[in-house]
Symmetry: C2
Subunit: 96 residues, 2 copies
């Protein structure tokens, strides 16, 4: 499945800044960061269930918000980018 | 068409903070802010062409980035929200 994950984490406290790092770390383990708080994720349904639990364990539901868009296949490849550092598309062969 | 617009504007300078306000103002005139720099937009193709031009006139392509996802109809209504202040869905009757 293709997901777009966007988040606002309250960074006015040290605890909030720690939550921000943890949320980013989780998202990075599943997908590609395309902007500061925007991740493109291609994963299985099971991955998403696990990821969702991990995110809910971390965020403060009173101060933070995460939005998750379940996209039709191919949507991520059609994203338009205005401005600097467009990310590499998902389906590029990874070079080792 | 349904769009998701996300942006990162460099706010380390007064000029950048002004660009941020202008980008947000343009997005607000076309859709709903769902997070600090995430907008959900339901508009015509013509609207999108105009909006794109206006955004390109404002941003610094060297310092800022805007990503635009063209979504399949109905995607916005299926968005999941974790945490505080979930926005009202698009198709709610507006109460005057």
């Amino acid at each position: 499945m293709e997901l777009l994950v966007t988040y606002d984490v309250d960074t006015t406290t040290p605890a909030g800044r720690r939550r921000l790092r943890q949320v980013a770390k989780i998202c990075e383990s599943y997908g590609i960061r395309v902007q500061k708080s925007v991740f493109e994720i291609v994963c299985t349904d099971a991955d998403w269930i696990t990821m969702r639990h991990r995110l809910l364990d971390i965020i403060s539901t009173e101060h933070d918000s995460i939005r998750i868009y379940t996209l039709h296949r191919g949507t991520l490849d059609t994203a338009q980018h205005l401005g600097h550092s467009p990310p590499a598309p998902h389906h590029d062969p990874l070079i080792y």
